[in-house]
């Protein structure tokens, strides 16, 4: 424990953010006059104290004297009514504190010893009178009880002494050793171990869910019976990690019904890719699929481009900021861990959250205890988390979406993806290939290991319930990661210093080392060597901890000196923690004793096979009964304001999408700044080529028709790229299944249909899946405000992400209408397909007819359009998606700040509103220069229907009569209204 504690408080003399901060809190309904902020550094040492002079000099290092003032061991005394201090709980990553510590060390030429630290906290001064509940609620919006400590004082309590000195120091006294676990128990007791965890002999408490079912526990028991001993807790925890749904994807791997004996993944996803690759022959774009941390396709003769999309749902439900931050920096490591190390060059994101303006209170505990964060707070947290992660890492984040549905209120979905670039070869080595060899050293690089994220992998395989462990929360440290990312990808890789690399994600060392051990058939790890954040961790915790910002590498002994010297020069911590072997075993030692010794074959393949049963029954929903209005002006304006259609530009501009200098077509386009559905980015300096990215999801179709839901996702993700001119035969896709209640046959029935859709449609398009991920239990079980049990499950959600290579960025097409007098076309016919549409949602009925994909026709159309764009015949193009034709046309008009006067070919059999808002797939809105009319129509054939021209300032649609006439400016206002104040 530190004996010397000093407090430095820093504030702006004139805070530029005061108004924004105050306005934001006011907009959440708190009657505050002003909310001031002071940064606090608590310096805690034990070996030596600092003189007052030293502390003043230290403070000067931490402030900008032009605009800031500080106090040392004295309370800041502004005018205020309440003070709220928010700091971190013990053991939570404190990046600001770490930077301050490094600055002090550098300045005074000293090193902080074990147990000494700088802790950062934020001290808010509230001006205004608040009722006690309001004050508590305000503290609740400023802090998250799972990661933060909060102390509130009134002006009187604060007095002249100010806030208390708090040291969030981790205090763990003993070093618990590994112990045997008795599995010779009855099934009820065994099941308890699986569900709630190993009974800790010291605390008498369960250690947290292993998420092992009875069949798996029987298999483990039988294995150790044969060995004639009990498993250790390290072995059991390790098996639980490796066999988790998160790591082994048991639901996608298990036999299903009688017709899918090999499981959904092999039968539908992998098979589609294999068959597409075979059919493509020499034109196969895939280089590495499903086997590595990311998938990779061809960029050009010299480079490959990689892509991977992850989810980080459960952690983001508990700590939205930390969860999303960890999600994005985690998937960055899937890029650094591809082959021998790809450079992360584009981040993408996706958020599915509840309605931020209509929170329904939910609680994890009875009697309104342990409340679920409201959607608005979740949204703000995840938006900030992805931003900080990408921005601090110097990776542009141009591409993303935000989708709202009340069914995401219990558990949000947070998607994070990273594209990487890697040369095919360096120094005669194929960089996409790697293999550890027996004798190579196991080297852990990056951050230290703490209790963070313990049971993260098993936990995300379980539904969120009151017993969810709080240690599942982690906060990332992007700068630590940036440091090793730079040295690995920009220096060590091309110096050929290591033979294999993978990231430490779910399951920590237990998964990364055991995974790499497959390459050489064995490993021997010394847990005592693993650098820890604090003492007192049990061996099993060190082995499975998910502390962030770590990679595991296989370094040949002859390169060790050079490797370690390079890491030291870049101030990156690297530690040899063992040796790769060829013994066929995974052996772990700690404190001189062997705490784990099992065969790799059992660890990786001992998992008992499951047989899953599914069922599916099509439900019938009521159709809407609202008659068609004569004029649709109001309807369109209302559609433009729908949260799944309107502008979420406020997110886009917080994300650096220009770093690395490759911006070609960005997240907002045109004078009117409309959000695009696809983006184009250069990733290799000097090359004309660029990488196109898009994403699509249709959760509102899932309950009606999961098969065609999958078709809609694939079609729309591919179409987004084609609209920019990306040739369809360069496009690959990724799948992310986020399902719910995957132990119910009905949900599995929907899953099976969606997987079948993936197979059928990707095959016809010829777009291979190169990577995928699933998260099967996105359910919340808890209580409502009346204490009644509720279960909130996400709608079955399939995100399709697409990646393609544009051969010539200079010929790419943006979405905005460009020049008055241009011709406006719709490409592709419109059917009455409004089931699950945004329009039906507005009318309050889901309907039954979701869009059905005619993939054969679509494929031909996409080739034609890509060809027309390659010949520079198209001035703008936008896919028709959520909200249908009228919304797409309006977006093109708003983006170009140009009016349109159009005649829409509504068939007699269809209501005009249904025609305008139907979500029929495979359609585009394009504008064409009059000079190119003939050539364009020849290129597209009868698929292209001329609707009229751009011009003026009004958006006018005529069917049999004039049905709509609004100012483009009003459409823009409506489009930007809902999130205008966020």
């Amino acid at each position: 424990m530190a004996s010397f504690v000093h407090r430095i408080e820093v504030h702006y003399t004139k805070d530029p953010r005061l108004k924004t901060r105050t306005d934001r809190i006011k907009s959440l309904g708190f009657p505050v006059d002003e909310l001031h902020l002071t940064d606090v550094y608590t310096v805690a040492t034990s070996a030596r104290d600092f003189t007052r002079d030293e502390l003043v000099q230290v403070a000067q290092q931490l402030v900008n004297p032009v605009v800031q003032e500080f106090t040392v061991d004295e309370a800041t005394l502004p005018l205020f009514d309440y003070a709220i201090e928010v700091g971190f709980l013990p053991g939570v990553t404190d990046n600001v504190g770490t930077t301050a510590r490094q600055t002090i060390e550098d300045f005074l030429g000293m090193k902080f010893a074990e147990g000494e630290a700088v802790y950062s906290s934020q001290l808010y001064f509230v001006r205004g009178r608040l009722a006690p509940e309001a004050l508590r609620a305000l503290a609740g919006t400023l802090a998250n009880p799972l990661v933060n400590r909060v102390r509130t004082k009134t002006r009187e309590e604060y007095g002249h002494t100010g806030m208390d000195r708090v040291l969030p120091h981790v205090e763990l006294h003993e070093l618990p050793t590994a112990g045997p676990v008795d599995l010779e128990l009855d099934d009820a007791e065994l099941a308890k171990i699986g569900k709630e965890g190993i009974l800790d002999p010291q605390t008498g408490e369960r250690r947290g869910p292993l998420a092992l079912d009875l069949a798996q526990l029987h298999a483990i028991r039988d294995y150790f019976r044969k060995l004639g001993r009990k498993p250790t807790d390290v072995e059991l925890e390790s098996l639980a990690q490796t066999w988790s749904e998160h790591c082994k994807h048991t639901i996608f791997a298990s036999a299903m019904d009688d017709d899918v004996p090999k499981g959904l993944y092999k039968t539908y996803i992998q098979a589609a890719t294999n068959e597409i690759r075979e059919a493509a022959g020499d034109r196969d774009i895939c280089v590495s699929v499903f086997s590595d941390n990311s998938g990779a396709i061809v960029f050009d003769d010299q480079f490959l481009v990689t892509h991977k999309v992850e989810t980080h749902n459960s952690p983001s439900a508990l700590d939205p900021f930390g969860g999303a931050l960890t999600g994005i920096v985690g998937v960055n490591r899937d890029t650094i861990g591809f082959g021998l190390g790809a450079k992360p060059c584009i981040n993408i994101y996706g958020f599915c959250v509840g309605d931020p303006d209509a929170a329904v209170p939910l609680f994890r505990g009875k009697d309104m205890s342990n409340p679920v964060l409201p959607p608005r707070q979740i949204l703000e947290g995840v938006v900030r988390g992805v931003g900080v992660g990408g921005n601090c890492s110097g990776i542009p984040t141009p591409q993303g979406f935000c989708y709202f549905d009340p069914r995401y209120a219990g558990k949000p979905l947070v998607f994070a993806g990273t594209v990487g670039v890697i040369p095919r070869e360096s120094g005669g080595r194929q960089l996409s290939e790697k293999a550890a060899q027996a004798g190579d050293l196991v080297v852990m690089v990056g951050g230290r290991v703490g209790k963070d994220g313990i049971h993260g992998a098993t936990f995300s395989s379980e539904a969120l319930d009151p017993k969810s462990p709080v240690t599942a929360v982690q906060i990332g440290d992007p700068i630590t990661q940036k440091k090793f990312s730079d040295v690995i990808v920009k220096e060590a890789r091309d110096a050929g210093l290591y033979r294999s690399i993978t990231d430490n994600g779910a399951g920590g060392l237990s998964c990364s080392v055991a995974e790499m051990a497959k390459e050489c058939n064995g490993c021997h790890v010394q847990l005592d060597a693993v650098p820890l954040k604090y003492h007192g961790m049990a061996p099993w915790e060190v082995w499975i901890s998910e502390s962030q910002e770590r990679m595991t590498l296989a370094v040949p002994p002859e390169n060790l000196e050079a490797f370690m010297a390079l890491m030291e020069r870049r101030e990156v911590e690297a530690t040899v923690i063992g040796t790769f072997t060829d013994t066929g075993r995974c052996v772990v030692e700690c404190g001189g004793a062997v705490v784990m010794d099992i065969e790799l074959s059992f660890l990786h393949d001992g998992l008992p096979k499951k047989q899953l049963k599914t069922s599916f029954k099509k439900k019938t929903n009521p159709e809407p009964e609202t008659p068609c209005p004569e004029r649709l002006d109001e309807a369109l304006l209302a559609m433009m304001k729908r949260k799944n259609i309107c502008s979420r530009e406020y997110i886009t501009i917080q994300y650096d999408h220009t770093v690395q200098g490759g911006h070609v077509l960005g997240p907002v386009q045109g004078k009117g700044r409309v959000q695009s559905v696809a983006t184009l980015t250069k990733i290799v300096p000097g090359s004309k080529k660029a990488v196109g990215l898009s994403q699509a999801l249709f959760p509102s179709y899932s309950e009606i028709d999961p098969y065609n839901m999958a078709g809609a996702g694939i079609d729309t993700a591919v179409r987004g790229l084609v609209a920019m001119g990306v040739p369809p035969d360069t496009i690959a896709i990724l799948d992310n299944f986020c399902w719910c209640s995957s132990d119910e046959p009905e949900r599995l029935g929907q899953l099976k249909l969606a997987a079948q859709g993936c197979y059928d449609f990707s095959k016809i398009f010829g777009t291979p899946f190169i990577s995928g991920k699933d998260s099967m239990f996105n359910d919340f079980s808890g209580f409502d405000a009346e204490g009644r049990k509720v279960k909130v499950s996400v709608p079955p959600t399939l995100l399709i992400s697409s990646i393609g290579v544009h051969p010539d960025a200079g010929k790419a097409v943006s979405m905005d209408a460009k020049i008055a007098g241009d011709l406006v076309y719709v490409i592709g016919g419109t059917k009455e397909e409004l089931g699950g549409s945004e329009y039906f949602a507005r009318l309050g009925s889901a309907g039954n007819t979701v869009p059905v994909l005619d993939a054969v026709a679509a494929k031909e159309r996409y080739a034609r359009l890509a060809n027309a764009i390659a010949h520079e015949l198209v001035a703008s193009a936008l896919p028709v998606s959520h909200g249908g034709l009228a919304v797409a046309l309006a977006k093109v008009a708003v983006a170009g700040r140009l009016g349109m006067d159009l005649t829409v070919p509504v068939p007699d059999s269809m209501r005009p509103d249904y025609f305008l808002f139907s979500e029929t797939l495979s359609r585009f809105v394009v504008t064409v220069a009059p000079d190119h009319k003939r050539a364009f129509e020849q290129a597209l054939g009868p698929d292209a229907v001329l609707l009229g021209r751009t011009g003026g300032s009004r958006f006018r649609l005529t069917a049999r009569t004039l049905i709509l006439d609004v100012a483009v400016a009003d459409l823009e206002t409506a489009y930007k209204a809902p999130f205008g104040r966020y």
């Binding site: 032009v66 220009t658 911006h663 045109g670």
Partner: protein, 288 residues
């Protein structure tokens, strides 16, 4: 119909990129490490302008493996050094001041140039290399958090406020900003001196080149008098928040698809590089 055909077939006139010249012998040192992240594109843009550069990790300078004396241009590129903790650029500036101060002073005393972009400008400001009214290098300006309280990434239009070695021949810059702390603030006296000594290099303005007058989003951060970048008193140091190096090509510009359509309809040739290159060409011209 004939017209139609001709228009379709007419190749868009693309002037060849300026023939790659031999780079000048003077070299640039581009700082890296601790979360600096724009070093690669900065090296690329200088190479295109005709100047070779080495990206050097700050620790290699501290260790003495590399020396500033071997270079004529020192660049602090953009990034998020130390995650902006303790104030953007502050921690990296401390590392420079606490370890490289003497070497840096010597470099400053020579006929050398220093460029800081975004995080680099924040580092320069914290080091006192701008405004640097004298050799005490006092901290005189601050780049405070944006008025909007969060990072802003968008294209901005800049106007040169004074002609100097950096702004020569430039009428307009159109490039992204991407920062959370670019809100320039200083005392009235300092501002007065900066104005008097014609040290304002660029100001934020509207699309029609009229002053932004502090109005968001033209002035994206609330910076005093719309200041986007300043030089040192002796003119040899430039710090600016916007990123010209991130929009070196025509197709990097926010509005290039519209500009391209307009040019094609009028039969005008399309540029390959952007107007922003001129800043870097001016650096090369200074040494040539």
């Amino acid at each position: 119909m004939a017209t139609v055909r001709r228009n379709i077939r007419r190749p868009v006139a693309v002037p060849k990129a300026p023939a790659a010249r031999e780079p000048i012998p003077e070299k640039a040192l581009i700082m890296s490490g601790y979360g600096i992240n724009s070093e690669m594109e900065t090296k690329e843009v200088l190479a295109r302008a005709g100047m070779g550069a080495d990206i050097v990790h700050i620790n290699d300078l501290i260790a003495g493996d590399r020396s500033m004396a071997d270079y004529r241009l020192l660049v602090f590129p953009g990034g998020f050094s130390y995650g902006d903790d303790t104030g953007a650029g502050n921690a990296y500036a401390n590392r420079v001041r606490n370890n490289l101060w003497d070497e840096l002073q010597e470099f400053m005393d020579g006929d050398n140039l220093v460029l800081g972009i975004c995080n680099g400008f924040q580092i320069l400001a914290n080091l006192g290399l701008v405004p640097a009214f004298d050799k005490t290098y006092a901290r005189e300006i601050a780049l405070m958090p944006n008025r909007g309280g969060r990072l802003e990434c968008r294209f901005v239009t800049l106007k040169p406020a004074n002609e100097n070695l950096w702004t020569k021949g430039i009428e307009r810059i159109y490039c992204p900003v991407s920062h959370g702390e670019g809100n320039l603030s200083c005392s009235k006296e300092t501002l007065q001196k900066i104005r008097q000594k014609k040290m304002v290099a660029f100001t934020y303005c509207r699309e029609d080149m009229s002053p932004a007058d502090g109005e968001y989003p033209f002035n994206p951060n609330g910076s005093v008098e719309d200041i986007a970048g300043i030089t040192s008193a002796n003119g040899r140091v430039l710090g600016m928040m916007p990123h010209p190096e991130r929009a070196m090509e025509f197709v990097n510009l926010y509005d290039w698809p519209l500009l391209k359509e307009q040019a094609r309809r009028e039969g005008r040739a399309l540029p390959t590089e952007s107007l922003n290159m001129q800043i870097f060409r001016n650096i090369v011209a200074y040494f040539s």
